[in-house]
Subunit: 215 residues, 2 copies
């Protein structure tokens, strides 16, 4: 049987739920009790009907004429996203980017504590970064198992990315975020997302050019 407990969430919705979650957490911190789709949309930068469609997929959690209860909605979104419990993350590559990501406290606050950091360079190994000791790349599998890491981040040069992905998969990691440019192939069962800085800049350059052309 296919997944069905949560009735099949479209990818576009999955991509927006974390944004709503962030807005909701802010509202909860401000002691706001209920929120309308209009207000939530404003915090997320989308339109209200979009918010309602997304939330209605999770279930009919709103009250007509009133809105959504902030705390309750936070719990529901966390449940759907699988963010009920913290998910330990391992970062491969302790260069500038790996260090930046390790320092980035937002991960831990958001439920993604960095619990492992490995690198292959002898200079990096043993260094302590944001309270984490850099382990040798060869220990990747041990680090993953010891800390129950379920998410892996590739922060190495492109040349190493494929090999690193292979090792992450071998270590039992099935969800990978790749910062290295270029193609990385993974087995069907693995989810790989990528953050491609050069591509982002190219897209901006395209729009920049469109703008100039229309002046």
């Amino acid at each position: 049987m296919d997944e069905a407990l949560t009735p099949l969430v479209p990818e576009a919705t999955v991509a927006r739920l974390p944004i709503y979650l962030r807005g909701l957490v802010d509202l909860a911190n401000d002691e706001v009790g209920t929120v309308s789709s209009e207000q939530l949309a404003a915090t997320a930068g989308v339109n209200a009907e979009n918010v309602r469609k997304d939330l209605s997929i999770l279930g009919s959690y709103g009250k007509r004429g009133v809105g959504y209860e902030v705390d309750f909605l936070i719990e529901q979104i966390k449940r759907v996203l699988g963010a009920g419990v913290p998910i330990p993350v391992v970062i491969v590559g302790a260069g500038n980017l790996g260090r930046a990501l390790t320092h980035y406290g937002g991960f831990a606050a958001g439920g993604f504590p960095v619990k492992g950091l490995v690198d292959s360079s002898p200079e990096a190994i043993g260094q302590e970064i944001a309270g984490i000791t850099v382990e040798p790349f060869e220990k990747l599998s041990d680090v993953v198992k010891k800390n129950n890491c379920a998410l892996g981040i590739i922060a190495t040069p492109a040349s190493a990315a494929q090999m690193v992905a292979d090792q992450l998969v071998a270590a039992g990691i099935y969800s990978i975020l790749n910062f290295a440019p270029g193609l990385v192939a993974v087995p069907e069962a693995v989810t790989l997302r990528k953050v491609d800085l050069a591509t982002e800049l190219h897209i901006l350059a395209f729009h920049e050019q469109q703008r100039e052309r229309n002046e």
Copy 2:
């Protein structure tokens, strides 16, 4: 009149062109003269008809029975993307992330040299990072003008992001890449793209949960 010289490129295509470009440059370095849609698709991780649709939007540059001429295609994609000439980039925020981005040589190689780096903290100002001296945030506008920066990157904490975006726009930057989490509003005419690490991890967590559920 609307843009028309290049006959309206769909966003999805714009997002893939840089990937093709990277693959093509690699092929050119390997002295490959022509490439089929099938081969190019393999380097980009998409399917061949997708490549053909995308390229046919730019013009009919392929030879039936043969494929596409690598060097020529590189030029055409660069032209469409507006990547014919290097576009100077300014980075706001010289913390871990800003430094990582400044060091990242891929930008310069890809035609996006970092020509400005500003920060508000007295300790950071004056430091030299990858050959760039950190200037005070107040000098942003001067730095942008002196170096003809056309792209801006926000690498500050979320709390400063909106203010930084406002200042970038005031300095004449209309294309912004934002690494800070949270909503940043910009005028209609400005293109803002964001890289949201927490969101990426949430999306991975969702798929991780789906996987577990189906086991």
